[in-house]
Subunit: 126 residues, 4 copies
Amino acid sequence: MRIRVYYEDTDAAGIVYYANYLKFCERARSELFFSNDLSPQSDEGYFVVKKLEAEYKKPAKLGDWVTVDTKMIDKRAASITLLQRVMRDDEILFTMTVRLAYLANGRPSKIPPHLYSLISAWESES
Amino acid sequence: MRIRVYYEDTDAAGIVYYANYLKFCERARSELFFSNDLSPQSDEGYFVVKKLEAEYKKPAKLGDWVTVDTKMIDKRAASITLLQRVMRDDEILFTMTVRLAYLANGRPSKIPPHLYSLISAWESES
Amino acid sequence: MRIRVYYEDTDAAGIVYYANYLKFCERARSELFFSNDLSPQSDEGYFVVKKLEAEYKKPAKLGDWVTVDTKMIDKRAASITLLQRVMRDDEILFTMTVRLAYLANGRPSKIPPHLYSLISAWESES
Amino acid sequence: MRIRVYYEDTDAAGIVYYANYLKFCERARSELFFSNDLSPQSDEGYFVVKKLEAEYKKPAKLGDWVTVDTKMIDKRAASITLLQRVMRDDEILFTMTVRLAYLANGRPSKIPPHLYSLISAWESES
């Protein structure tokens, strides 16, 4: 997924505000749903972030094009772990490992088969 | 209402991003509800912004303390108009006239008496 | 310019937060610069928002594709006025008239010819 | 540091958007500077986030009062590590371990003595 850095993403230090890399990664996760005519937020259930580990390597700046790639690195019945990277051309700017748990009726639940099939797109780098 | 300007409010131009003054004003509107143990978002109904006119006079910067004052300048059965100002000490940084319509069940409706009484706090400068 | 609505754009009311339509409009303004290998923020000078009038007609929701179109409705030596609209297919969701002043060395200044030529793209609907 | 949750902090899932807990934690870090008449962003140098690990335990909601506490858990010549928690009364909603490196002239540098003395406030829970 390709993302342009706009003013709203930057701060007075002249670079992308540290929390906003998480927005970029979330856009990439949601986009898989949207581009398959699904919503990440369904009455049936949805994923929530439980844990993440992030590394800030180089800053993105106003006007940069960055890409987010997403790879599934762990897959369980009720949760998955993704490795997401924000790149500018060949440079890695930011990496994040994020664990998502599936909730149905507010509790940890098995990921339903049709979602498993959707998110298998992340098994091959996307 | 007193608000500190943090990194998240600024952009690469080194000043508060233009959309964020609207956030400051919304905080002041919601705070009247919260500080009276109410929520601005109720199943019964809520206010939505229909129209606004804003003027940007001077920029706020990282670390500034600003205050938001709110004054009701028009009051009708189903809508109100507020004048909100963002100040830094005696300087006016931003002014906004904002019209809010009351919706119940998704349609324009009379503002219920207990809310009228709440928002009368805005008749005297707050 | 086409924009997807992500979680970050929405709020607990389930729709796009009112300040975020201003972000969408700013993206469209900046994109004209970026797509011409320019930056909206230059040492030479830049545009600042002085005034805006906005109308909220219908809300955008999570996952929506919206488009922003931009038209110059007034053009002076040191400032311009744009009409920007956020649309979802044929529906107008949001309109904004925004006056931008050009600053060089921190003061109102004549817009330089190469920028005049750039922003003439907004004379025809873009 | 006490923080009210406003609309801007929430998303269509009805709770605080996952990136916004990082904003709350950054406010608490910056506030130590501001309340000592310093800026976190100085020509002399500043801290940048290099790494973080976050856990999401319970969501904060619109209107909640949350507090952020900050404790220094590692202190080196050129970097520090903080443990920050977002609490609602006695409940831990979010925890984050964040490593900050000090940069002067854009490179990792020794933290100057007056900043060491400032941030020692984080050695006792604040």
